[in-house]
Symmetry: C2
Subunit: 441 residues, 2 copies
């Protein structure tokens, strides 16, 4: 008995149909795959995870508002109706661009065209040793790890035998004042102020301190200045201590050192930088920025290889009109779609076209009933921005089941002041065991 | 500034109020804590997790039907309104029964009364080396690990380069024909037959084989014989191969050896035995059965210690009427409540009372629209038993948010033939990496 479908056994022999390999199932890879649905190509989409992740809501998994499955959708399910696309759960290990081959862990693929949309991971400006003390937030596993650390900190404070130890565990540091940092700091402050307040007997969780550290002169630097100061004011009101112009000089197990001061904290979270997916370093001589992102032109082509396109956060470029393309989901989607169009143009023997970024604006949430949003010259802050934020994120979330689940979780949290997913899974982080026994000795 | 509440700072000095320590936040520990709500005692509930887990639905987390947070509830939240109870997230390391002390990882507690409700873990009949090849299903982390293995197996089959390898990954073995084994085997068969069928391009997931291995002469041995054969017939119809009278003699990375035959399988799950929580071995000379469960009398007292009670799965006993008390949630709840009553009796200077088990019947689900249920002499099979099963589990699940979420997930899966949580988190299990590279070499 064969476990294989016959029709697909012979798939690889249909050599006349061009083979498009898409690396990465994020916003860019997904858009590229979908844009090619009706063209006579066979597509292989490779991702090392089995799911597309809706990263804009990842911080809510990290702060116990949502479950992991609420913001992820199996890639196979997304494409189950698109017969020209095959999904492989596999990892890229190397490239042979001259032979038009990509080597995966389990096999090698030959391609006629390739779209590289592998995205970025958390970056530490060369100090990768800080990663274990201050984990970042780019994947579901990292979100679960952050949730474990944040919830465990309250438990450890409750077990603390003196005020110093309680203080350590009730002090949270978030490094990085961009949207993710602002969202994390706000959500942790709300957990401490409201959600946790009635649950503990020994500690007063409302006395927890949340520090938000930003190296630059203002929060949310991609937003207009008025919105930066609104966010700053709101966070201050929520009890978050914002540090501006204070770059981090070192991070250890329970301390963050800044240029002028240092903060003792049992829970340090990193939302300060990005770094190209490490496999992108195997792309030969291509020019890169300091974060390892590939510098490409407005045609999205990898220099010297006109059948390889870069899309999403991994690409660093100014568009046709000279506008720097930001690391945002709508930009990634547009780039993925453009890369697909370039392939279609090429197949038709037509010349390539430059990418034009259509700016859909920008938004970030600060806390309950409070967000900032802008679109071209319109900026709104506060409640209406928050409602807009909720609506936009629900609409762009993939899958009706996830939309319903996220919506109900939000309604529940709003009405009951309760996060639905306050569950610690896996053991408490190892290093913390010892800090408890040290301080109780 | 103090991080502590003052009123609780002095809690430990109120020496006149008897201190009850409850170990374990499962059904028994929870019931004991709640039953003491209105009595003048101070209670400390200790659990190494931060949540109460609704174990009867754990198999649905393992088979991607529900998210972890749907079947767990933070213990602090459950007891946030009960002012005489403090929750500690900590682990028991040893006992000093003569001094009425229990040693936790972070501190030692003195008690006037103690209820030990630490439950059981998966048992391998002395072959603990099988655990890494065939994980069990007792905690949320184990459920996530099972889900990862089951979903990854389909992904690995899709990557397989020959039929032998695909066969290995499309063969699933569940060891143990009790309710958990039956539920797991049925759910995996439905995943392969229906949910996964449209998602893959290379493999035909409907050709997956699910084996259910039972050492005894029939499935569901705690149920009437008619229900065993109903379950057997239904599973066969769903494509599950049931092996009876075939004890497992060895388990390795990709093979289960039975007395007469052996099965190659990439995914082996264990639902065959239980073993007392290992810390119960520190309870001195108390008599135990082969699984390490403590043999107690109908008063639930630990022999020689009239202030220590054993409740839940960890207790092995026949009740006042000579009936063997089963390892079921309702029995654990009743024992927990009885232990609390014994403490109240003792405080009032009244004699102890024997435990009487009230049999609320038994139920197990086999698959979509198919379950068995019995109550005293009434047995029902099929659709109505399944509806009853859904209803009973929804009612007893803790927390309205979880009930709504589970209900909607069930409706969604039923209508859409889709499991909502088909997300692989964490890396693929390490050993499998090598088996893939071996076979593609």
């Amino acid at each position: 008995m064969s476990f294989f479908f016959n029709k697909n056994q012979s798939f690889s022999e249909e050599t006349k149909i061009p083979h498009v390999v898409i690396l990465g199932g994020g916003f860019a890879g997904l858009a590229a795959g979908k844009a090619l649905a009706k063209y006579p190509v066979k597509i292989t989409l490779v991702d090392k995870e089995n799911h597309h992740l809706f990263q804009p809501l990842l911080y809510q998994v990290a702060t116990a508002g949502l479950s992991a499955a609420d913001i992820a959708q199996p890639l196979r399910h997304i494409f189950c109706g698109q017969s020209n696309l095959t999904t492989l759960m596999d990892e890229v290990v190397d490239f042979d661009l001259d032979a038009s081959k990509v080597h995966l862990r389990s096999q090698s693929l030959s391609y006629d065209y390739m779209v590289i949309a592998l995205g970025v991971t958390t970056g530490y400006f060369g100090n990768h040793q800080w990663a274990r003390f201050a984990p970042g937030l780019k994947t579901l596993d990292e979100a679960t790890e952050l949730r474990r650390r944040v919830l465990s900190a309250f438990e450890r404070a409750e077990l603390a035998i003196d005020s110093d130890e309680a203080s350590l565990w009730l002090t949270f540091v978030v490094v990085g004042g961009g949207p993710t940092g602002v969202e994390l700091a706000g959500a942790i402050a709300e957990l401490a102020q409201h959600v946790m307040a009635k649950d503990f007997r020994h500690i007063d969780s409302t006395k927890a301190k949340v520090h938000l550290i930003e190296a630059g002169p203002r929060l949310l630097s991609a937003f207009p200045e008025g919105q930066s100061s609104y966010a700053h004011k709101r966070l201050k009101h929520m009890g978050v201590k914002v540090h501006l112009n204070e770059p981090v000089t070192s991070v250890s197990t329970d301390e963050v050192t800044l240029s002028q001061s240092s903060i003792h904290s049992g829970t340090i979270l990193w939302a300060a930088g990005v770094e190209a997916n490490s496999v992108a370093s195997k792309l030969g001589q291509a020019p890169r920025d300091r974060a390892g992102r590939l510098e490409v032109g407005a045609d999205l082509m990898l220099p010297n290889y006109d059948n390889v396109f870069i899309a999403g956060d991994l690409a660093r470029l100014s568009d046709f009109k000279g506008k720097q393309v930001p690391c945002l989901a709508p930009a990634a989607t547009q780039m993925g779609r453009h890369a697909a169009k370039q392939i279609v143009q090429h197949l038709a023997g037509k010349p390539s076209r430059p990418f034009v970024y259509f700016d859909k604006g920008n938004m970030a949430t600060i806390g309950r009933s409070s967000a900032v949003a802008n679109y071209r010259k319109i900026s709104i802050n506060g409640y209406f921005a928050w409602v807009a934020w909720l609506g936009v994120h629900l609409v762009f979330l993939m899958g009706m089941r996830n939309r319903i689940s996220v919506f109900l979780n939000w309604v529940w949290s709003y009405l009951a002041w309760r996060q639905g997913a306050r569950i610690i899974t896996k053991k408490l982080p190892g290093r913390s065991e010892s800090s408890i026994s040290t301080s109780s000795a």
